[in-house]
């Protein structure tokens, strides 16, 4: 398969992860576009060793980290009006965590925990792959995951009865 075709097959996964990171559809697509442009520019200079998708995720994560850094320097804020809570998302059912609550809790996670948790949960990558993508040791992946889950638990409650939501 041609390099560009191969990249194309990764675009939906990149968009999904980018939306989870940015929580803004347009911003997510901007990020993916930057990522793709960078990958296309680099292709002649750099033969990705592992799977192409992991390489693309690595580029995406690095771009995201950079943009967070420069944003912090400028003190800008993301508008939350454009949150990626799509109208098609089913209302929470019994025994599930409320999505709005989860979204707010996610927002309070430290960046490193959030990027790790979302990568593992949404993209289904192995811990080894996550470590390679994020450029951290696998032990760090595990500790971030553990802390992320504990933090979410503290922020959203235990999921016991008071947290059950009825269908609206």
């Amino acid at each position: 398969m041609d390099f560009l075709d191969e990249i194309e097959t990764c675009v939906p996964a990149l968009r999904r992860y980018a939306r989870a990171l940015t929580r803004n559809v347009d911003r997510a697509d901007d990020l993916v576009q930057d990522c793709l442009e960078r990958a296309i520019r680099k292709r002649g200079l750099f033969r990705p060793t592992g799977p192409l998708q992991a390489w693309l995720f690595r580029i995406l994560v690095n771009l995201w980290r950079n943009s967070l850094r420069s944003e912090r320097r400028r003190g800008e804020h993301v508008a939350y009006d454009a949150l990626v809570i799509e109208p098609s998302i089913p209302a929470p059912q019994h025994g599930r965590l409320a999505l709005g609550e989860m979204n707010r809790a996610l927002d309070k996670l430290p960046d490193d925990q959030r990027e790790t948790l979302l990568l593992v949960v949404l993209e289904g990558v192995s811990y080894e792959e996550a470590a390679a993508i994020l450029g951290i040791p696998i032990g760090t992946v595990m500790s971030r995951l553990s802390r992320a889950r504990a933090t979410l638990r503290a922020l959203t409650g235990t999921g016991d009865e008071p947290r059950l939501r009825t269908v609206k």
């Binding site: 999904r16 576009q33 990626v84 809570i85 989860m102 595990m142």
Partner: protein, 268 residues
Amino acid sequence: MTPLPASITEDDLHAHVDGLLPPARAAEVETWLATHPDKAAEIALWQRQNEALNALFPPANDEPVPDRLKPRQLALRSRGVTLGWPQLAAAAVVILAIGTGAGWALREFDRPSESAGLIASAVTAHALYVNENRHAVEVAAADRDHLVSWLSNRVARPITPPDLAPEGFELVGGRLLPGDYDAEASGPAAQLMYQNAANDRVTVYITAALPDAKAAYEFASRDNLDAFYWSNDLITCTVVGNLPEDEMKAVAKKIYTQLTWRPDAART
């Protein structure tokens, strides 16, 4: 009571929730959890967290992908800035003043970047060789048959040097050049050089058509050099020179007419 497996770790519990354990190990964890309700409740919560995250951010597989996220289109668009000569490419893109100044068949105004890389390459090649005396060309016009067959083979298009004698220009010769470095699809380029009695030189830079094979027309100007670019379903062609405007237009038009002429309009 099942005996506890030797070592169920915290990592195993995460991997279990994330579906990363081999079935045998997963079964061991399940067995262990049956006797550890506290842990079982905790990882049931993790599972609900996973479900919530998946519901918040559903897969995008079924969504239409906007053009700006299509790798092929991005590859075409990014050519202009990937040459390693950013200022040149930028100049070519920015100064693409299309239309009014170039009254010959300029039609499309909104697609400058696909061709920017080729125009930049053509202008650079012109600037590089135009002042050469003994080495201006690789194969001289005296060896015209060889020049034509060699360049036609390498560019994979029939390349017949236009006749510019009525405009006072004679073919000096030609050479093979890389096309735009980032445009793998355009392949190598043929550069033909012409010269008039006043030693003004014009080069014609020809590549095989871009993947879209669409017709496009552009005019670019940089320093004292003007570049006329067009493409059709067979080739792209960039005419570069620094002649007076009228003369430049006449030459470019003549080249265009000859290179796009087809017997019975049927050559493929």
